[in-house]
């Protein structure tokens, strides 16, 4: 892909406004992208502290550190904050920064809505977290919010949780509309769909998933609200309702949601691996088809989270087969990444290390996913630490590692300075060690029979849990190093060139580093 940059600068173009109004009123995709990223990092730390509270309690058997009621609030809030506060906004932040530059557009298609969709987030999250300080405590029913524990038996603060989820959902939907509008309407001349960079493709598909399922979540929590306050009995068997109905609706949102958190990661890795292998992405077309098939399949597998609710045999079989099928396109992606490296000329800077760890560890998460999809075996795995291990391998060493990879990859473009490669590598190795030490033993504790979401456990699980806690603290603390590396690169260092990485391709590398406040005021020509 080659591009011609137009050096001409509009005369009414201007830099950022001064002071706080720059951030409050900005419609600039780069400013908004930065805010999204900082916000998600803050939420990541908040959710991380909650995770460490959980791990501290579980370090040894016995009730040592927090009460069971608070423990349940910590697990619930950790899940909600990480999913809705950390991972999703981080990907939207990356989309804001990179999509316009990747498609050669001057900004997002709907810049004012962009500002709104960001500024909803801090308020929604503050509302969510404030429930911890309300009378009766915060939500204590798990991030999956199963009724009737989350309705009839919930603390009063659940009403605020529902409202916060509505707000977070509205923000996500706006973000998704904006991304679709930008990608479909604002590509530079010559950039056909099948020439779009993979990150653009994966985000396009993700945005459709978001629009399809966030309203379903909103519907589910609204039904909860009605059961709690307006006398309906959607989920109350005593009134003719069905508690399992909630689970069907929730997971109809929930399974696509896990792909919302992984498809953009696939996109990022598909940029980083070719760049550092100095070789084109292998099987671009099949990557696009694989991503689309994963998105389609994600709508028809939801009940694999509900194998134990007592579905009829035909239902179990359908959801088992459909779930197993997802492994096929996922496998295609992994094979393509490895073929991209094959006979390349690889170097191993920090973004590449995170991308390689992604391929390695995400695949391990995929293996446990295939195991979980086997319905009879899932009777033994379901709701144990084996599931916790599975989704942390795909979410932490999957989604989160891809976000780290992306930040290191594009940081020089954002700040104009190279980050410290040595410190970046230390951050990588500490994270890699921490993640595996924290989550690998959970496979064993789960198989040995430890249920998830318990504040105390039988003695035979003690060793695994001690290891997990040590790993979790190593992982958690090493993220402070990440913060330091990023701040250091913002404040100065070795100047970055426009190209930054010699093997990197794409329009974003044709603009100077740091990227000027306005880029591509006139669209480049893509051949």
């Amino acid at each position: 892909m080659s591009a011609v940059i137009d050096a001409h600068h509009d005369d009414h173009a201007h830099g950022p406004a001064k002071g706080i109004t720059r951030w409050l009123y900005t419609t600039n995709h780069k400013d908004i992208g930065s805010m999204y990223l900082w916000f998600s990092f803050l939420m990541f730390l908040a959710g991380g502290v909650m995770a460490l509270v959980i791990r501290a309690e579980l370090f040894q058997p016995g009730q040592s550190f927090v009460e069971p009621h608070f423990f349940n609030q910590m697990t619930t809030m950790h899940g909600l904050v990480m999913v809705f506060g950390a991972i999703m906004p981080a990907f939207v932040g990356l989309a804001n920064w990179m999509l316009p530059m990747m498609v050669g557009a001057p900004d997002m298609a709907l810049p004012r809505m962009n500002n709104l969709s960001f500024w909803i987030l801090p308020f929604a999250s503050a509302l969510l977290i404030s429930t911890l300080f309300m009378e009766g405590g915060g939500p204590d029913f798990g991030w999956t919010m199963y009724a009737p524990l989350s309705t009839t038996y919930a603390p009063d603060s659940v009403t605020y949780v529902i409202f916060a989820i509505h707000l977070l959902g509205a923000s996500s939907i706006m973000g998704a509309i904006n991304i679709i509008a930008t990608i479909l309407n604002m590509r530079a001349p010559g950039m056909t769909l099948m020439k779009m960079p993979m990150f653009v493709w994966t985000w396009l598909i993700t945005a459709y998933l978001l629009i399809a399922v966030m309203p379903v979540l909103a519907g589910a929590v609204t039904m909860m609200l009605f059961d709690i306050h307006f006398g309906t009995s959607f989920f109350d068997a005593a009134g003719g309702g069905d508690p399992v109905l909630f689970q069907h609706i929730f997971w109809f949102f929930g399974h696509p949601e896990v792909y919302i958190m992984i498809l953009p990661a696939f996109g990022i890795v598909s940029h980083v691996i070719p760049a550092f292998s100095r070789k084109r992405l292998f099987g671009y077309d099949s990557m696009v088809y694989a991503t689309s098939s994963i998105a389609f399949l994600s709508f028809i597998v939801w009940a694999h989270h509900m194998f134990t609710v007592g579905m009829p045999l035909a239902g179990q079989l359908f959801f088992m087969y459909a779930t197993m099928l997802i492994a096929v396109p996922t496998g295609v992606k992994v094979f393509n990444w490895i073929s991209t490296m094959w006979q390349g000329s690889m170097t191993f800077e920090t973004p590449m290390l995170f991308a390689l760890a992604f391929v390695f560890l995400f695949t391990i998460g995929g293996f446990s996913g295939v195991m979980l999809s086997i319905a009879p075996a899932d009777y033994q795995y379901h709701d144990t630490y084996f599931v916790v291990a599975h989704f942390h391998y795909v979410l932490v060493s999957g989604s989160l590692f891809s976000i780290f990879s992306a930040v290191y990859f594009w940081l020089p473009k954002w700040t104009g300075y190279m980050y410290s490669e040595a410190l970046g590598k230390v951050h990588f190795w500490l994270s890699f060690l921490g993640v595996n030490l924290a989550f690998f033993p959970m496979h064993f504790s789960g198989l040995a029979g430890m249920p998830r979401r318990i504040p105390d456990y039988a003695l035979q699980f003690a060793n695994f849990n001690a290891w997990s806690t040590v790993g979790a603290f190593i992982f958690g603390l090493s993220q402070l190093l990440f913060l330091y590396v990023v701040i250091q690169s913002i404040r100065g260092g070795q100047k970055a060139t426009a190209q930054v990485w010699d093997g990197a391709e794409g329009l974003e590398w044709t603009v100077p580093s740091p990227a000027p406040y306005h880029t591509f005021a006139t669209p480049p020509q893509v051949k």
């Binding site: 016995g62 390689l356 293996f367 195991m371 009777y379 033994q380 249920p451 979401r453």
Partner: protein, 384 residues
């Protein structure tokens, strides 16, 4: 050179140490093969998929590491230029598909076998409560023959670290479920409040207990023994404290146990009649009430009656407890629908109910005048 081998070496060493140390550090780190035909089939299925995944992993990660070692810039300065191959894409779509079909076939047959309920020798209803299980032995017409509650029996001192933890810490109960081996036992699962899940790993049975609905599962246990499990669905504060213990007895021993329990239940009914008629002193009621309180109320209202406000109200200095007996009994007997305060009317017999009422009204610094007698409870119940 970009790649500091120092870091790789330490990283790999640590990873290797981790993989080796973790299994070595603990016994029991795989799924149990269990003691039923189904549980062994599931174990075999689990190991089959596991080894298939290991095989795929060796190939995939092998290719990746070969590439990382050989195709690095220091060894391979000029990258190849190939970037697509429809043939390869088809190959690595079809091979995994074939492998998956190979897994789906045995999985389907195990599942079909598990759904073959019916033809059972006996039926047990399993009912989840926050946070205990109730077991009811039903006859052929599903009428209740024998029933009892099964509560965690680990002392609170062990949980709070004031006493050394026993061997079966958190996996022990006061009244275990008892079933015979070699007979098809059908379990009907339901719940009184929120969703729980009844799970005994050795039987490979895990099914949700859902309020208002009935799920059914079955097992034919082949070896006598004591099997332990836990609730597997988040059900509130004490979700971690509602274990399941099943004693599987040889058929004749089970029959003897069952006859004895039925007899005992009949005797208890008679004894209860006597106890109700008996003249209770305040001290006797207080002592009995204290132990009823410790089994049924302490999880929420706490040992000193201080509760966990605002979730669980304190009973010490509580207006309801200090108030008139009628409305106090009303709360305990009927519970407060829609809150964690369940109805204890169906759970406690009149003597236990009277004693725990009496205890509350005398303990925690209260000094309500009258003695609450079992007949008061009966009178109250009849008026409902």
């Amino acid at each position: 050179m970009f790649f500091p081998t120092r870091f790789t070496a330490t990283g790999l060493l640590l990873a290797a140490a981790l993989v080796l140390a973790v299994p070595a550090a603990a016994s029991g780190w795989n799924m149990t093969p269990g003691v039923t035909e189904i549980s062994r089939a599931i174990y075999d299925l689990h190991m089959l998929i596991f080894w298939i995944c290991v095989g795929i992993g060796v190939v995939v990660f092998g290719a990746m590491f070969i590439s990382i070692v050989l195709h690095r810039k220091s060894r391979n300065a000029t990258p190849a230029t190939f970037h697509e191959s429809t043939k390869l894409e088809i190959v690595w779509t079809l091979i995994p598909l074939a492998i998956l079909i190979g897994m789906a076939v045995p999985a389907t047959s195990v599942l079909v076998q598990m759904y073959d309920s019916g033809g059972e020798d006996m039926v047990v209803e399993v009912r989840g409560y926050q946070w205990r299980w109730e077991y009811k032995y039903l006859d052929d017409d599903l009428n209740e023959q024998l029933s009892f509650f099964s509560n965690l029996s680990t002392p609170r001192d062990q949980i709070l670290g004031r006493a050394e933890k026993g061997e079966h810490y958190l996996l022990e109960v006061d009244n275990p479920l008892v079933i015979p081996i070699n007979r098809k036992v059908r379990f009907l699962l339901t719940s009184n409040d929120v969703i729980h899940a009844w799970w005994v790993p050795d039987f490979a049975l895990k099914r949700d207990a859902i309020p208002g609905f009935i799920n059914d599962i079955w097992a034919i246990v082949e070896e006598p023994g004591i099997y332990r499990g836990q609730c597997a669905e988040l059900c509130g504060i004490d979700h971690g404290y509602m274990p399941i213990v099943v004693h599987a007895l040889p058929e004749d021993e089970f029959d003897a146990w069952y006859a004895e329990r039925l007899e005992l239940a009949r005797a208890q009914d008679e004894q209860l009649e006597e106890q109700i008629a008996q003249e209770w002193s305040g001290e006797e009621l207080f002592a009995r009430g204290e132990s009823v309180y410790a089994t049924h109320c302490v999880a929420c209202h706490q040992a000193e009656g201080q509760g966990v406000p605002p979730v669980f109200p304190a009973l010490a200095g509580n207006g309801v407890v200090a108030g008139d007996l009628e409305s106090h009994m009303d709360v305990v007997y009927h519970g407060r629908p829609g809150t964690a305060m369940q109805a204890f009317g169906p759970v406690l017999d009149p003597v236990d109910m009277a004693s725990v009422m009496h205890y509350q009204r005398k303990a925690f610094g209260h000094a309500n005048g009258e003695v609450v007698k079992p007949v008061d409870v009966i009178r109250f119940a009849e008026a409902q």
